[in-house]
Structure formats: structure tokens, C-alpha cells
């Protein structure tokens, strides 16, 4: 079979043009190398636009006590200490500079009274730390990077899907892609490849993620021989829309709770006050009054007000909501209520002529719009119905903490498809800062790697042809299964068997189901031609979705404890003695089968331990006692 394909050459090829990919491409380009940026959608449409709340960075504009050390400690506590501490350190140290840089590139953040970048409260962050633009921070971030990046000499390849990485011996050599529009193949030859493909949310039925989130980068790296870590940690955001059915899963920003939104069950109880984990008790408000004062940044009984329980970490809030629903205290459509009226009433008693409608429209414009348009509901007057939605994966490609390079020479990863910084649970706001900090580093080190390797790698025509034959196979079957049907079955399976609450027997069934679906996926057929054919695209995505689903399930089975985003009904307690100092590692074995194992986390150096101890009331958590 002879297939024509063009070959495009770049020093650095970046796959994915969300925040991380754009930031990596800008940095690589600044180093003077030739950069190609490939994306599945149009430029500026990536999932980063959905980020609402803000970018976490210890700028200390609102609370002068904030600094990188507190941000570091917050991130580690949120991740239950299985994070890569070096990444968490770099992230906390460099995030402020990355945010200021965005402003220099044209971003327009909301302001403090003295004209600096305003910061807001968010779950798990000790001080107001999230630089934001209303509730559309992600759009501001991606548009700023896009508008800056298009003047940097980066070659952008829009609407192309990379489906295979190429290697030259051990070294990365490039990638094979198809253009979505015409269905033609193209090959990239590159000294370094940066994966920035985002997450895996489309493996689940209820998700806040777009169609693009099919685990491409995870799977490309895994297939090429890289390792994945922490795959069991899938973040279910506590507040997605639940009604009407067609919008189920769409995100309701944590900013709603950060601005005073309150969760209630169908008895009107503020149930979050009833279940506050021990390690957060000292930081949580004792009553409604204190919680609301925290929102305003005011004092309560002479000391700083502590945050309301709605702002506990996402894993905990999501599980509390699931419990309320399971025990019959949910809202009519299987969620709980999230309401702004309590804060409005309380605030209205303090401030004369408080206009609640105007206040909320200004604070939460896109949430107002979203509920008004999609649910016909006015959030300034009526409670929302919310429930957990698959939002983010902490797990991903295992990379070096300083360079973002995987174990494959020349293959880098950053953003959601890379792992390490978030541990068992990501704090809201840390993903946008992660994109910027580690995206920049990935671009910088990919460029350096390319500069150190003067010769271009060789493209192996056999590898290319094999990949293309694989991609065309669904067209050759006249009778076969509908790829959409398989995708839907996988989503149901993952939702029901490897969701928020997990059990060994269910996950073993999930593994069998995944294996069965994998066999059926080899028999899918697509109709029509190669031009902009969603059926074909979905058929090819199945491979990635199945790979990440298996990785999530196998890692979740191995970790026989509950920690962060992983909740095991059969092992409901945290077991730090056995699992507090290890990461799960997934890799392809010599026989082609998926292997999963534990690997110890290197001990934290003394200066970082001192920070944790100080921020943890003088004590070290069990995970860090050596």
C-alpha cells in the first residue's frame, strides 16, 4: 500500500494548543528553534477556555502573608503528600512570575482597590490566591497566549489529530497525524515532541470535559514506551449541572462557593458543616457567620475568619454530595442544592440597598448566563441543582520534575496529560498555574534538547505505514459496530464501576468489560469518506479511551486505600503506612500488556519538610515521617 503524505520538519513539535501547549510553544520559539503546534480544534478553542475560577499564584496582593511556601504546603496537603514535591515547589515558586508575564502580554485581570491583580479565595488555598477575570479566567489565559503566540513565528496546524508517535531507536522522531477536514495523513519529523493534550474526561458519561479529552497524550506516550503515574486519581468536581439531562456534567465553578454559595440538602440542611476532616478542622469556620465573613476577608471574634466547609477539597465535597443523594436527601434530579440566597440575605442585613441580582451578575457572569440559557433558572433568585462531574485527571505521563521530559529521550509532557504536581487531589486554580509554569519549562527544555541534538531523527517509513493502515482499517469493514455505541458503553462502564466510589469486585468487572470492548473496537466500521467524518474520528479515539480506562482501573485496584480523589468502599481509610510514600506506575510490558506497580517517592529534603511542619501546626503528616 502506498500512501502519500507530506513531512513537516520542526525542532520542537507541540501536540495540543491549550494553555500548556501554547505556553510551551511560545517558550520554545523564544529560544530560537523552529516550532510546530498541532491541535485537534481551531486555535483558541481548547478546553482551557472552560477554566473559570482563576490562576493560583502567591502574589500576596490581597493578603500580604501569602508566599510560595504557603502555596507549596497547601498544594501538598491537598494532594495528600503523594505529589512530586519538587514540582510542587517549582510550581509555587514560579507561578507569580508567570501570572505577571500574562499581564505583560495583554491579559486584563480584575483589580484590587489599589490597582493590582485581584485574588480570590478557593478551596484548599489558605489565602485569597486566585488571579481571575470574573468567572472566565481560562478564556483570558488562552486568548492572551494565542494573541501573543501568533506573532512569535510558530507554525500552527489546526484541526489535525496526532494518533501515533514515531521513534528512531530509543529517541523520539516525530508523529503521524490526520487532518480532520480532508482526512489526509501528514507526518511530523521533530527532534523533540511536547505532549500537551489535556485529560481523559470522555471516558466517563458525566463529565465537564469536551470531546477532545480522550486521553490522547497519555496513550501516545504509553504506546511509545513512557510511564504513566497516579492514574487512579481522577478528580470529580463536586459541582456540575444535573438538570436538564442534556447539560448534565457542565461545570459550575468553585467560584460560586468562593463567593459565598452554600450547599444544602432537600431538608435545607447545610450538610458540609457535619463532616469536616480532622486535618482541615483548624482551618474551617465554626458557623455560617464565620464562613460568610471569610468570603469578605474579615475578622471573626478578633481573628481571621476561617473558610466555610463548602471550600474543603474537591474530593471531600464530592463525596459528601454523593452521600446526601444516596441517603435520600438529594434534590429532585439527583444532586444537591447550591444557593446564593443565604449570603445575599446575610449581606443584605449588613449593607444598605444591597442589590443581590447586580452583585451576582458581576461576580459570576458566565454562571448566571449558563443557568439562564440552559436551565431557564435565575441563580440570583433560585437555588441551583448540582452534582459531581468528571473534571480532571491528576495522573499522567511521568516526567522529570525539572525538565518535564519523560523516560523517552526527546519526549516531553506538560499540563493535564503530565503528572506529579497534584498528587491525589488537585486544588482548584492550580491547573492554570501548572499550565503556565510547567508548560514554560517543557518548552524551554524541549528547545534545549533540540539544540543539543544537531541531527534530525530518521523517519521509519514502516512505522508510518503501519500507523496509517491501522487508522484506515475501520473503512475496510463493511459490517461492524457503531463506534459511538462503543464509546457510550465504555462511558457507562467507567461511570458505574470506576467512579467516585470504588470497589474491587466492580473494578474487576470493569477490566473484563474493557477487554471485551477492546476486542469489539477492533471490529468497528465507519461509513462515508475521510472528509470531516466524526464516526471515523470516534473510532480512532476508542483506542486512547480504552487505554486510559484500563490504566485508571488497574492503578485504582492496586491502591487498596482511600486517598484524595480515590475512594475505596472496601478500604475506606487512608493507609499511609502502606500507601503514603508510593506512586502507582503504569507501563507497557514486554508482552504488550499493561503492567502496574508501586514506586517509592523520594524523601522530601529538610528545608521543605520544615515548611510543611510549620504550616501543619508543628507536626509532620505520617506520609512525611521517615
Amino acid at each position: 500500500m502506498a500512501i502519500d503524505y507530506p513531512i513537516y520538519e520542526h525542532d520542537v513539535l507541540v501536540v495540543g494548543a491549550g494553555g500548556a501547549g501554547l505556553r510551551a510553544a511560545i517558550e520554545a520559539s523564544a529560544a530560537g528553534v523552529s516550532v510546530g503546534l498541532v491541535c485537534k480544534s481551531l486555535l483558541g478553542k481548547a478546553h482551557t477556555v472552560m477554566a473559570e475560577g482563576g490562576i493560583a499564584a502567591a502574589l500576596a496582593n490581597v493578603d500580604a502573608r501569602d508566599n510560595w511556601k504557603v502555596h507549596f504546603a497547601d498544594t501538598m496537603r491537598g494532594g495528600q503528600y503523594v505529589n512530586n514535591w519538587r514540582m510542587a515547589q517549582i510550581h509555587a515558586q514560579e507561578a507569580p512570575a508567570r501570572v505577571r508575564e500574562l499581564e505583560a502580554w495583554g491579559a486584563v485581570f480584575d483589580r484590587t482597590a489599589d490597582g493590582r491583580i485581584l485574588q480570590r479565595n478557593f478551596g484548599g488555598h489558605k489565602y485569597p490566591r486566585l488571579a481571575h477575570v470574573g468567572d472566565r479566567t481560562g478564556l483570558e489565559l488562552i486568548r492572551t497566549l494565542q494573541d501573543y503566540g501568533i506573532h512569535r513565528g510558530i507554525s500552527v496546524y489546526m484541526e489535525r489529530t496526532v494518533f501515533r508517535l514515531l521513534k528512531d531507536g530509543e529517541r523520539i522522531a516525530g508523529a503521524v497525524a490526520y487532518d480532520r477536514e480532508r482526512g489526509r495523513f501528514l507526518v511530523f519529523r521533530a527532534k523533540a515532541v511536547v505532549l500537551a493534550t489535556g485529560g481523559v474526561g470522555r471516558a466517563y458519561k458525566i463529565t465537564s470535559n469536551s470531546w477532545e479529552y480522550t486521553g490522547d497524550g497519555h496513550t501516545l506516550a504509553y504506546d511509545a514506551g513512557a510511564e504513566l503515574i497516579d492514574m487512579e486519581f481522577v478528580q470529580f468536581h463536586p459541582t456540575g449541572m444535573v438538570w436538564p439531562p442534556s447539560v448534565r456534567g457542565i461545570l459550575v465553578t468553585e467560584g460560586v462557593r468562593g463567593e459565598g454559595g452554600v450547599l444544602r440538602n432537600n431538608r435545607g440542611e447545610r450538610f458540609m458543616f457535619q463532616d469536616i476532616p480532622d486535618n482541615y478542622k483548624a482551618q474551617t469556620a465554626e458557623n455560617e457567620e464565620e464562613g460568610f465573613l471569610y468570603v469578605l476577608g474579615e475578622k471573626y471574634q478578633g481573628r481571621d475568619a476561617r473558610r466555610p466547609p463548602e471550600l474543603l477539597t474537591r474530593d471531600h465535597v464530592a463525596r459528601c454530595i454523593v452521600r446526601e443523594v444516596k441517603q435520600g436527601r438529594g434534590s429532585p434530579h439527583g444532586g444537591v442544592f447550591l444557593e446564593l440566597q443565604s449570603f445575599s440575605q446575610w449581606y443584605g442585613r449588613r449593607v444598605k440597598n444591597f442589590n443581590a441580582a447586580e452583585h451576582w451578575k458581576k461576580k459570576l457572569p458566565s454562571m448566571y448566563h449558563q443557568f439562564k440559557e440552559l436551565a431557564g433558572l435565575d441563580i440570583t433568585r433560585e437555588p441551583m441543582e448540582v452534582g459531581p462531574t468528571t473534571h480532571y485527571i491528576m495522573g499522567g505521563v511521568r516526567v522529570d520534575s525539572d525538565t518535564q521530559m519523560s523516560r523517552i529521550p526527546g519526549l516531553f509532557a506538560c499540563g493535564e496529560c503530565a503528572a506529579g504536581i497534584n498528587g491525589a487531589n488537585r486544588l482548584g486554580g492550580n491547573s492554570l498555574s501548572d499550565l503556565l509554569v510547567l508548560g514554560k519549562r517543557a518548552g524551554e527544555h524541549a528547545a534545549r534538547y533540540a539544540q543539543q541534538h544537531t541531527s534530525l531523527p530518521t523517519i521509519d517509513a514502516a512505522q508510518v505505514e503501519e500507523a496509517m493502515r491501522w487508522a484506515l482499517a475501520p473503512f475496510e469493514r463493511t459490517h461492524g459496530e457503531n463506534p459511538f455505541q462503543l464509546q457510550q458503553e465504555l462511558q457507562e462502564l467507567m461511570q458505574n464501576l470506576v467512579g467516585i466510589v470504588r470497589r474491587e469486585d466492580e473494578m474487576l468487572r470493569a477490566l473484563e468489560g474493557i477487554e471485551l470492548l477492546r476486542r469489539r473496537a477492533q471490529q468497528v466500521a465507519v461509513s462515508g469518506n475521510r472528509e470531516y467524518n466524526p464516526g471515523w474520528h470516534t473510532a480512532l479515539d476508542l483506542h486512547s479511551l480504552l487505554t486510559v480506562s484500563e490504566a485508571i482501573t488497574r492503578a485504582a485496584l492496586l491502591r487498596k486505600e482511600s486517598r484524595g480523589a480515590q475512594f475505596r468502599e472496601d478500604y475506606p481509610r487512608k493507609d499511609s503506612a502502606n500507601y503514603g510514600k508510593v506512586n502507582t506506575v503504569v507501563a507497557k510490558g514486554p508482552d504488550g500488556r499493561m503492567q502496574v506497580r508501586f514506586e517509592p517517592i523520594p524523601p522530601m529534603p529538610q528545608e521543605l519538610l520544615d515548611i510543611i511542619r510549620e504550616e501543619n501546626g508543628g507536626q509532620l503528616p505520617e506520609e512525611l515521617r521517615y
Binding site: E9, A46, R111, R143, Y148, S210, Y532, P534
Partner: protein
């Protein structure tokens, strides 16, 4: 479940026709849900762009019953159930397939507009000070999700096909966001007149009407820009002064940025507009 008739444009650059599909309607469904249902059941090769399905990315722009809208934010219950819902691609851009059009022209236009060039930082730590009141207007413009519905409805582009001369409402909003940015020092007024032909806009406000982000495009962006053009080029007092002193003209060519990265020539390619040529075509 109730059914509604959808009449959807099927075709490519060579031609096409409307085709009818019955869609089962559930509560709260939007037009994009109907398209997805059709892809999964009756028409797996029905092409449509979408991403967020929450009105935030601007990918699923199309014309529903003749009105440019985001399919993800158009509720089916807003239409009479006994009449077909007609869905067709945006008319201002070349058709690729079904509901997908080639919008790459917009990306090329943006590259012609001089980028942000900030004044030197206000504080020794490299930061600036801006008051919220001074950025409210710019933040309105920066809500734009680049769905290009305003471009689609603009008669200068849609009916008169002035794509070569006119940049359209989206990019007047973009230019306004730059021009009204408190930190920006670039001047794009001459380019607005000479290269982007803002004068072609006769403020019919169709763009404002279709904007899903409710940006007041005409009143807040285009008219103030027109006023700036008038001030610079048609002010009689200024004209008199200019007779005596030679005028200083601004440029639309990107000027060196004060940011840390050097400028270099832009390249951008989409599937339909490939500017970076392949280096070695091969057919193994």
C-alpha cells in the same frame, strides 16, 4: 418521546442539499444535542464543530432557522414543535462539509492587527497599576469567544464579500480591546481607516444582535473607533495644524514589543490554508 423534524444542510464545497431527520426530543435539549444524537444513530458522518457545549468556546456556530447562533446554547423548546428546525452552516465563509465552514480567514486577519505593546511597568517589581473602572470596557470586549457569528451576519462580508478590505466586527472588537487597553501604546487608528476600512460599517447593529456574549459591539467598540478615525483624519482644526506641521502617521505593521521575546515572522496554517510547505513529500 416527542419527535421534531430537523432539516439539515448536507454537502461539501461541490454542492449539497437539505436533508430531513426525525429527532427524539428530551427535556432541555439544545440543537447541538440533536446533531449529536443524529451522529450516534442516523448520520455518523454528519460534520459539525463543537468543543465545550457550554457557550464558552464558540465552536458550534451555525444558522438555525436563519439566525446565526451557537447550537449549544439554542434550546429546542424555543421553537414551535410542529415546524421543522432548519440548521445550515454560516454563509459568510466557504463550506467545508455539512455544518463546518472554513474560518481560517479570521485567523489571518488577526495577524494583520498590531499586537499589544505595553508601556513600561509602573512599579519597580515590573507590575502595572490599573483601576477596575478603567478596564471594565476592555473586559467587555475580551469576553469574545471568537464564534464569528458577528462576521457571519455582517453584510459587508456576507453580501458584499469584502473579506480582502474589511476585517469585520470581531476584529473591530479586538482592535478596540487593544486601543482601549490602559497599558497599550500602539496606534492602530490609521490602519483602521486605510487597511481595515472601518468606514464600510454603517452601524446596522446586526453584529450586536447575534453576539452570544452580549457584547455591545456597535455602540461600545465600532462607533468609538470610528470617532477616533474621524478625530485623527477629519478634524478641521487638526487639518489646519497639519498644514503647518507634517503629520505623524501610525502604522499597522507590528512594532517591536517591549516584552522579553523577540518578534519574528508569523506563520499560520490550517487544513485549508497551509503556508508552511512540506519539506519532503514522499510516497513510500
Amino acid at each position: 418521546m416527542p419527535q421534531i423534524l430537523f432539516r439539515i444542510w448536507r454537502g461539501d464545497r461541490h454542492g449539497g442539499q437539505f436533508r430531513d431527520y426525525q429527532v427524539e426530543i428530551g427535556e432541555g435539549m439544545v440543537v447541538l444535542d440533536a446533531i449529536h444524537q443524529l451522529q450516534a444513530t442516523q448520520a455518523p458522518d454528519l460534520a459539525c464543530r463543537w468543543n465545550c457545549k457550554a457557550g464558552k468556546c464558540g465552536s458550534c456556530a451555525a444558522e438555525v432557522n436563519g439566525i446565526p447562533r451557537l447550537m449549544c446554547m439554542t434550546r429546542i423548546s424555543d421553537f414551535p414543535p410542529d415546524q421543522p428546525i432548519i440548521v445550515e452552516p454560516m454563509q459568510t465563509f466557504p463550506l467545508i462539509k455539512d455544518l463546518v465552514t472554513d474560518v481560517s480567514w479570521n485567523y489571518q486577519v488577526k495577524q494583520r492587527i498590531a499586537p499589544f505593546r505595553p508601556r513600561p511597568p509602573d512599579a519597580p517589581d515590573g507590575t502595572w497599576r490599573m483601576s477596575q473602572a478603567d478596564i471594565d470596557r476592555v473586559q467587555e470586549f475580551r469576553k469574545c469567544i471568537e464564534c464569528f457569528l458577528c462576521q457571519d451576519v455582517c453584510h459587508v462580508l456576507r453580501d458584499h464579500h469584502k473579506h480582502e478590505e474589511f476585517i469585520g466586527p470581531r476584529f473591530f472588537v479586538h482592535t478596540a480591546a487593544l486601543e482601549m487597553h490602559p497599558l497599550d501604546t500602539e496606534n492602530r487608528i490609521a490602519a483602521l481607516k486605510r487597511d481595515f476600512h472601518i468606514g464600510y460599517c454603517n452601524i446596522t447593529k446586526c453584529c450586536t444582535k447575534v453576539c452570544p456574549e452580549q457584547i455591545t459591539i456597535t455602540d461600545n467598540a465600532i462607533i468609538p473607533l470610528k470617532e477616533r478615525v474621524v478625530d485623527e483624519f477629519y478634524d478641521p482644526v487638526l487639518k489646519l495644524i497639519q498644514l503647518v506641521f507634517r503629520p505623524r502617521r501610525s502604522s499597522s505593521v507590528p512594532a517591536p514589543s517591549s516584552s522579553p521575546h523577540p518578534q519574528s515572522a508569523p506563520t499560520l496554517s490550517s487544513a485549508s490554508a497551509t503556508t508552511s510547505a512540506p519539506v519532503s513529500p514522499s510516497s513510500p
